[in-house]
């Protein structure tokens, strides 16, 4: 752990020199990252990015000042501290020792090189053949937050992003590891996409929709998590006002729990150093605890910090979800598609968008299947679902009993790209319209 030997007391004392008002909060965020990528086109071969740096933040009342630097040394730490200071301390600013473990090993990621052939084998096992290229990247990140009031432990994340380039489009995925199961899941998704590649989009349809695990996860992220982020809520009022609002069907119990995320990306503290909590976003469809970071939690006794995330040291934290969970219901997969003749089974959603002001929500599906005789049958092409968030969540009529880790992907809210994870069952919606 590169930051385990940082002297948190000395750093905290140094930060205290600029936090000179009673309610000031000052903290430092140390970050190291390593990405290794094998490109599909192989030019150039292995790509490696290694970087580290830090940011110092001062929050005073409702204003934040941030100074971010590439590289870590006592000298640049002192310079950054001066940048956020509102008034220079009367005595010279002390410089804390910053004992960071150096990079010692040669960049290496042999598991990346083996993965494409595992996917090829898994696709062949489906007895289909089509051309595709994979770009696989391993992402590793170590962070530690040390402030005047809190000092977290060193947190580490490792995961992989995979971009599959197919003749009919691109398919992206995030996985916590590159084991055989990940290769098989990716292969299944590619095969489904292959079988639906020439399918015509469905005619406008209103009726039963059954969302697969991955599509449900995207819906949760876009329609529930974003809608309950304190900064988004603050655009139309006080975030606290959302607590207690019936936002969706009583079947919906939704949590954000970074500590139960897939192994490799689990977190015990957020990017502000706060211990994470199992945050109940919706209990029986009622808003219980919006996603909140320090700056919003400071203004409310009912909002809890612990969901502050940073895209990198160069960005201030904002409230974001990390690992969403929809609690399982009691409906079997077979019952979800019962009485749904002519309905649509939509296994994946490739993107979604919530207009935070109007509450208008759009979810795009790359393909789906028409339900015939209680079974998802012939493929249909790309389609989309548009509705008001409240209408959409109110139309949930069944929650599957079986949950899967699914729907991981990149969230790029405000241009800040972060990985998000989810564990979700299938979902049955009724009375919503899907259009081509």
């Amino acid at each position: 752990m590169p930051f385990s030997r940082l002297d948190s007391s000395a750093i905290s004392r140094t930060l205290a020199q600029v936090a000179d008002e009673a309610t000031d909060v000052a903290d430092s965020f140390f970050e190291r990252r390593e990405d290794i990528e094998l490109q599909a086109d192989g030019s150039p071969g292995m790509r490696v990015w290694r970087e580290e740096g830090f940011a110092i933040r001062l929050m005073r009342q409702d204003t934040t000042w941030l100074a971010a630097r590439d590289g870590i040394s006592p000298e640049v730490f002192q310079q950054a501290l001066r940048r956020v200071a509102r008034a220079m301390p009367r005595t010279a600013v002390s410089t804390p020792p910053l004992n960071v473990e150096p990079w010692t090993s040669r960049p290496e990621a042999s598991e990346i090189q083996a993965f494409p052939s595992a996917v090829v084998r898994a696709v062949k096992a489906h007895r289909v053949s089509f051309p595709f290229e994979l770009t696989v990247r391993r992402h590793r990140r170590w962070v530690r937050t040390i402030g005047t009031r809190l000092a977290s432990g060193c947190e580490a994340e490792t995961f992989y992003s995979i971009v599959s380039t197919l003749p009919w489009g691109r398919h992206g995925a995030l996985v916590p590891d590159l084991r055989e199961r990940s290769a098989e899941t990716l292969a299944s998704n590619l095969v489904r996409s292959h079988l639906a590649r020439d399918a015509a989009p469905p005619e406008p349809y209103q009726g039963v929709l059954v969302l697969g695990h991955a599509a449900t996860a995207v819906l949760l992220h876009e329609a529930v998590a974003h809608a309950l982020e304190a900064d988004i809520l603050s655009r139309s009022g006080h975030p606290e006002a959302a607590i207690g609002v019936q936002m969706g069907s009583p079947l919906l119990n939704i949590f954000d729990d970074p500590a139960s995320a897939p192994k490799g990306v689990r977190r015990t503290s957020d990017d502000e150093g706060f211990p994470v909590i199992r945050r109940c976003l919706l209990r029986a469809g009622v808003v219980e605890q919006p996603l909140c970071d320090t700056i919003f939690a400071r203004c409310s006794e009912r909002l809890s910090a612990g969901a502050g995330r940073r895209g990198s040291r160069h960005w201030a934290p904002t409230p974001r979800s990390f690992h969403l969970e929809l609690a399982p219901g009691d409906t079997t997969s077979q019952d979800l598609v019962s009485d749904a003749e002519g309905g649509l089974y939509l296994p994946e959603a490739d993107r979604g968008y919530l207009d935070p002001l109007s509450g208008r929500f759009t979810l795009h599906f790359p393909y789906g299947r028409r339900i015939r005789n209680r079974v998802p049958e012939e493929p249909v092409g790309p389609c989309r679902l548009q509705a008001q968030v409240s209408d959409l969540l109110d139309k949930v009529r069944g929650v599957g009993a079986e949950v899967h880790a699914a729907g991981a992907g990149w969230c790029a809210k405000g241009g800040v790209k972060l990985p998000v994870w989810a564990t979700a069952p299938e979902l049955r919606l009724e009375g919503l319209e899907v259009t081509p």
Binding site: P44, D62, A67
Partner: protein
């Protein structure tokens, strides 16, 4: 400006390791950002510094990027994949560093004043509207590059980018609460951003969104603001960039081989005087230049990198950019723009419009079907009669064939405006055109 010797040391280290092809790139920069929001403003000062090396031979290669200054004794990754060939140095024409690069970054209080002025002007232009969020980023950078093919380059950039979002109560057309409109713009210096002009543009858009009616299917004449024509130019980059661009363009040209009207002159200029990204070289150390892609409707040549025209190097432009030290060179325009008419104002174009539409904003992504040679663009703006607005239109779609779009350009104004593209900048003045169709997308 002088190359940091550590770049040469690192290049030497790669040469000692036996790499025939090697290049070291370094970039450092600083930026001040003010993020304005109703609840919590954030002021950031970032200093970034990093470097990257590419090395390889005919069979294998690697790319390595890291923070800080180049380190000659780096533990390089194993080379893999395809081989690497780098650009041979070419003479760089005389270059005078623009003095505007030395202007200090916008101060925190200046940035706050911009947003305060904007909020005030917006309230004046459109009572009831308010600024919801804004993001001002003002930065400067210096890039250096050396390679084993004798390329030695150093250049600086200065860019300010602004995003503002405003909201207003929804009108009868908006069944679901308030509406919002977003504007993005780019300038060399944040001090060039004019709050009054920005507020007017925001107010126009809010007004159109609030009161606009979906149009009936109609043809006629159109004025397209830069905000509308630039997304189309950007979506048509396969016709302007790359070795097969001329073939694609030929499929859109008429039987006489003409691609557009006489008013269509399309240029990319990496040395555009006063341009936001003006520089003597690109991200591979190749000299930038002015490339005329279309002259008075006749296709001249596409934008090509050095590797795409090995037998005729004079056709190449320095057009491989490195937005950050983390990025590999990526081909794209520097300042790609439709040549304006310096003698014509937007007002004179508007007054000459007897019946038609002034389209002010693009409300989504253009859809281009190169096979069918057609396009669709979601737009909004004003209906015009005798040079005067008669009503606002929204939820509209401008559509037609690509030949009609390019050959329908009748006149241009002088208000050349650039927008950030995925790579580089693309610009256009307001244009008047005909031969297209407006329809409802309600």
């Amino acid at each position: 400006m002088k190359i940091d010797p550590v770049l040469f040391d690192t290049l030497d280290a790669l040469a000692r390791d036996g790499w025939e092809e090697a290049e070291v790139f370094a970039k450092k920069g600083r930026s001040r950002t003010l993020h304005f929001s109703l609840s919590h403003p954030v002021t950031s000062l970032r200093q970034e510094e990093g470097w990257a090396a590419r090395a390889g031979d005919g069979r294998k290669s690697f790319f390595y990027a890291a923070h800080g200054t180049p380190v000659p004794d780096t533990l390089w990754p194993e080379a893999d994949g395809k081989g690497l060939r780098l650009a041979t140095a070419r003479p760089i024409p005389q270059w005078n560093v623009p003095s505007s690069l030395d202007a200090p970054l916008v101060g925190e209080s200046e940035a706050q004043a911009l947003f305060e002025g904007l909020a005030r002007e917006l309230d004046h232009e459109f009572p009831g509207a308010r600024l919801l969020a804004g993001h001002l980023d003002d930065g400067s950078s210096e890039s250096q590059l050396v390679s084993r093919r004798e390329a030695v380059a150093i250049y600086r950039h200065r860019v300010a980018a602004l995003m503002v979002e405003a909201t207003a109560p929804g009108g009868r057309q908006q069944r679901h609460g308030p509406l919002s409109q977003t504007l993005t713009m780019v300038a060399k210096d944040a001090r060039q951003l004019n709050p009054k002009a920005i507020a007017r543009r925001l107010a126009d858009r809010l007004l159109i969104a609030q009161r606009g009616q979906a149009p009936h299917r109609d043809r006629g004449e159109f004025l397209l603001a830069p905000d509308v024509f630039v997304p189309l130019l950007s979506a048509l980059t396969p016709l302007w960039i790359g070795p097969k661009a001329d073939q694609r363009a030929a499929a859109v040209a008429d039987l006489a081989g003409r691609l557009g009207s006489r008013a269509l002159t399309l240029i990319d200029d990496g040395r555009l005087p006063g341009g936001i990204l003006e520089a003597p070289t690109d991200g591979e150390g190749q000299p930038t230049r002015r490339t005329v892609i279309i002259e008075e409707g006749v296709y001249q040549q596409p934008l090509l990198s050095w590797s795409q025209t090995p037998s005729r190097p004079a056709l190449a432009s320095g057009c491989c950019h490195r937005p950050s030290w983390r990025d590999l060179p990526v081909q794209g325009p520097s300042h790609l723009y439709l040549k304006p008419d310096e003698t014509t104002s937007v007002a004179s174009l508007l007054s000459g419009l007897s019946r038609g539409y002034y389209l002010l904003s693009c409300d989504g992504v253009p859809q281009i079907d190169f096979e069918k040679r057609r396009f669709r663009l979601p737009v909004s703006g004003f209906a015009i009669a005798d040079g005067q607005p008669t009503g606002s239109i929204s939820r509209a779609e401008l559509t037609g064939t690509l030949p009609a779009l390019l050959s329908g350009i009748q006149a241009k104004a002088r208000d050349l405006t650039f927008f950030m593209a995925s790579v580089g900048l693309i610009g256009s003045p307001t244009i008047r055109l005909r031969g297209l169709e407006l329809r409802s997308r309600a």
